[in-house]
Symmetry: C2
Subunit: 739 residues, 2 copies
Amino acid sequence: MKQFFPILQVLVSFSKPHAVFHQKVRSIFTEKTFLYQAKNPWGTKKKHRSVKLNFPTYTMADPKIEEILAPLRAAVKEQGDLVRSLKSNGAPELDVKKAVAELKVRKKTLEDKEISLAPSSATFDRSKMEDLLKRRFFFDQSFAIYGGITGQYDFGPMGCALKANILNAWRKFFILEEQMLEVDCSILTPEPVLKASGHVDRFADLMVKDMVNGECFRLDHLIKAHLEKLSADKKTSNATREECQDIVVRLDGMTKDEMSAVLAKYSIVSPMTGNKLSEPIEFNLMFGTQIGPSGLVKGFLRPETAQGIFVNFKRLLEFNQGKLPFAAAQIGNAFRNEISPRSGLIRVREFTMAEIEHFCDPSDKDHPKFESIRDTKLQLYSACNQMDGKSAVAVAIGDAVDQGLVANQTLGYYMARIHLFLIKIGIDPVKLRFRQHMGNEMAHYACDCWDAECLTSYGWVECVGCADRSAYDLTQHSKATGVRLAAEKKLDELKVVDVIEPAPNKGVLGKAFRKEAKVVIEALERLEPEKVEKMEKNLAEKGSYIFSANGSDYELTKDMVSIKRYQKTLHVEEIVPSVVEPSFGVGRVMYALFEHNFCTREDDEQRTFFSLPPVIAPLKCSVLPLSNNAQFHPFVKKLSEDLTRVDVSHKVDDSSGSIGRRYARTDEVAIPFGITVDFDSLKEPHSATLRERDSTGQVRIPLDELPSVVRDLSNEKTTWIEIEKKYPKFEQQESVAKA
Amino acid sequence: MKQFFPILQVLVSFSKPHAVFHQKVRSIFTEKTFLYQAKNPWGTKKKHRSVKLNFPTYTMADPKIEEILAPLRAAVKEQGDLVRSLKSNGAPELDVKKAVAELKVRKKTLEDKEISLAPSSATFDRSKMEDLLKRRFFFDQSFAIYGGITGQYDFGPMGCALKANILNAWRKFFILEEQMLEVDCSILTPEPVLKASGHVDRFADLMVKDMVNGECFRLDHLIKAHLEKLSADKKTSNATREECQDIVVRLDGMTKDEMSAVLAKYSIVSPMTGNKLSEPIEFNLMFGTQIGPSGLVKGFLRPETAQGIFVNFKRLLEFNQGKLPFAAAQIGNAFRNEISPRSGLIRVREFTMAEIEHFCDPSDKDHPKFESIRDTKLQLYSACNQMDGKSAVAVAIGDAVDQGLVANQTLGYYMARIHLFLIKIGIDPVKLRFRQHMGNEMAHYACDCWDAECLTSYGWVECVGCADRSAYDLTQHSKATGVRLAAEKKLDELKVVDVIEPAPNKGVLGKAFRKEAKVVIEALERLEPEKVEKMEKNLAEKGSYIFSANGSDYELTKDMVSIKRYQKTLHVEEIVPSVVEPSFGVGRVMYALFEHNFCTREDDEQRTFFSLPPVIAPLKCSVLPLSNNAQFHPFVKKLSEDLTRVDVSHKVDDSSGSIGRRYARTDEVAIPFGITVDFDSLKEPHSATLRERDSTGQVRIPLDELPSVVRDLSNEKTTWIEIEKKYPKFEQQESVAKA
């Protein structure tokens, strides 16, 4: 198989609401013929594999190319340095913005040159892969017989089984192994929760409407398409062309007003009808609905699963017996009403997420198991490298944390675990990098954020986010509800503090304020020390104090409330935990898996298949009778029952095609092992052949041993190499079997 | 533990849209002390169990009680016979309705007497169980810190793990074992799909609104509460009381107008404010939203997962290589905007379903594996028994199908499989019955429908529906889309048929109708034979024909279309498959599991626990160091790592409580096995104790054997009885350990 990546047009982002960015990042790849050895962790006999893969790598092998690129790299670095110095000198924001925009222009020039110099001999045929995915119903558009809805997909039997296996592997790798607290929270979320989290106000994209028919367009996509078309027009002057290209590059950082000005300047109208367009409108990406029959309780479909964990923080802390650190996790669906969904599974309206919220002491972000992954090497594409015009670099995570490149051990631990998980399920390590958010794209509450990006034919796609969100979310929900979302931390030394507290006289308050007395008493209990002091002063001087609670004012007098002062010895202090959040977009991971594992047989370009690892393959085994001969039936039936007994998912294919054609069909749905019952199976001792998908190697195994052999191969308790050593090779060639 | 069921007040229904009924069905139970032996399928040493369970059974043991009930049973039967004869004589609908209402009154009289005679020594304390579920965060109200939303629940770590284990068991039992095609479809569903399925028009409950503050009440609940209160009032006359009781009984069958009349007659106002109420309003139970930014595409959150399977029928049939029968399955969330959710997990707004749609030839509903379950005995509560005043009866499913009591083998096969699955995961067989829908409550499209009902303190609760839906859904979607959702069936004999077809002249049509020509041509291709004949006649006689397509009329002339007649030999015929649908309400099954497995230690009423089978228990094992002694740490750490390696979910509890208290805590979250590392563990050969939850029996096992022993116990590959035979008993009493 040969693959080409029409390189990195778009960096597709899967960001948290406050950090929706569509940074264009490009990089360069030289080709390198890889030994399958390097990739295949589950021990199929690699040298027998009929597929040769060409992987792009980060290595800049050619000094001639580097010579051409050197001045461009220097130009990026020069501007990067300027941005840094402006920032450190506290220059006006506008100046910094302008410098960042120029930095982006220079980065793009460098990247364009890189692409123009990269060899492009290999091709990856996306339409061929999409045809296979559709034909064998891995997934397809939802409600197609009704015309379909863009941005919604149904997973068929193979896609669904793959997804279930990925989620099971995830649950084992993260939840069980780390003893996380898994929760399963409601999807319908009342408005106040998402108001507090910031989604109601800020989770929006800009769009414009066709003034006649109401059709909507996502504003940045529309401008980009219009200006790119204009640039491509031969009649366009060079000056205009440059201006267009400049705007496209700056688009992501533009404000609503700036984009509005572009619309006006280029007289952009609807590309579909030529009608005039509205002014830009902020369109909130959440799906709204009403909860209950009254129409009074507004709710949304959750845009992420994380908030369900935050609102349950108190219960989870209690479940963990009050101790920090602990991690909670959730697998579930989330919804975003994209203005114009595209790129298949990558930008959709309904998707499955797997999120972890790790709560820890903000003053101690070390991780107890950090040493176990210290030497794991990751491709890190730091903010600094991005500003310096450099590429991603392989760094051991221990070194990255020691050097302060990655903010803390907990963040580093999860980055390494994400890396290991992705490799385990079949992501190509060469097409995986961690990109650090740059200062201007990081959500305002985050300390550090790295995205695990997979290289696909759509460019580098963010598949997993990994952010240190500090105490932002818990603080927001505490503020909104008045419920303290905090943990207690034992103090090393006892601490004596002065306390000042209002002591309400409930009887008198009750008489004075009746029903509202409760509100007043509760508000008094929450009152901050400075205000208590002020109250004390007023009561002493004027005999009364005007107290605001729940939006109303109450006049308090001395008989209603007295002020207590005393000293208290503290054994614990209250801390609001910091949160480190790894957040997986399951559909995106699946899409990357499809691309990274799509193969073509060297001897037959029409025979395509997916080399997915057994642990996540939709089905583990096929059972194929050589022909329709009735003598085979009892053997096939018994094998199927025995495989079920040892929990090996499998498929019996007793249709009439040749054995070769049926192998090809099982290869297409990524079944890693195939049992064929043939005439030799009828003889004692009964046996059958077992075939491995990637190498197409076959061995002969006694029937009673087969189910447990396949189970152990599927669970990765043994390898194909070991099985080939243990059992006699079956020499009949597949091409012969095909006949 | 002693349990009492305040018997069967409500039959809680989980029905398909067209069959939402709230039948009140009661039955009688005598108590019988059960040997735990009879229930426990995973082989814990039952006689050691410290809990004695009292199960109600269907057996009417006491002839004296039967003597009293005999005339009441006869009265029900007499009326049941009348209903039957009215129906068979085609009596006016109104007469039948009146007779059915009278039948219900007589059933209620019988049931009330049954309850008054049933011994009620045992008590089940629901609040005690709910306290445990909340305290250990199995589940709790969603968004509680924001005041919460009724009818929404979040599952905490234990509830979530339990749910995941149930779903995994379900997937193995149904999908893998039967090689079903699992799909995972979109939740957001465009309106036309649910219009075709009937949900947009008919999936509604009646409600009334407070005319001042807009508060909504579900109409049947409101009337029932009002009349019951009135009945209970001592000042109410006997005549009124009887009338009230009569209305309550008839409520489920009442029309909107009849209920409206009741509202008026009793001057019912808002019970909260005393304000006047609106006329009854039909409130659709689906959550609506807009898909996309234009606000033009109306959508709903799916109210069931089934429709996702139906709209994918063509793809699934193709995946199955065109062959019938096959079954598709889906696990996923569905949503219903209940007017007034209640009864905890039983009536909620957001819930997980697991649905199977088995597609088969309508003329052959035999099931190939029927013989394997033929002798399985189920408690069947047939429509006939319900009319005759009898109870449910244990019948082998083979006999039930042979006698025509259950409509066909496929339906019977799934009923037996549902029964076996529920028992496997811990539903008490004595509290499980299959109730057949009576003629007047069956959805109009269904041939036969049986609900698996579990007895809980809320009465008999429908947990799984099992219906033969005939060809209803596929036909509806075919009609709505024009896409034939049908399968081809090989004919035993070739069949020659006459064909009459319009042959459009595309060129001429194109010139005449321009853009609309395509519509006309497509409509011609779909034209029914009778209409083609009419067209042929008109064209011959008048030279033209007015043809309606897509709501417009087109005048067709002879040059535009000719009529072809010929004979065709058919090898296959097209059939619209019948659908048998088992539909699981996962939350309801979970709730029944909680009640059926809630136990109290005989020696300590405060020690409550759940005796859930290991296969679905949230965690399989606890690891407890006897004390804080540092020497235990390495052993605990190694055990934890080894358990992880063999995929045994577990919890280390090294907190400071006594070992007895920590056992109690792990019992509460249903952990079936507990390892304790003590001072003997430090000596060679290293060993630890293993304790079984239900019996509290303990054995001593070498450390290196422990992980695999616990794995085999958890997977039910071995039993506690076998383990007790193999390893030395650990004699220290728990009460001693407690000290």
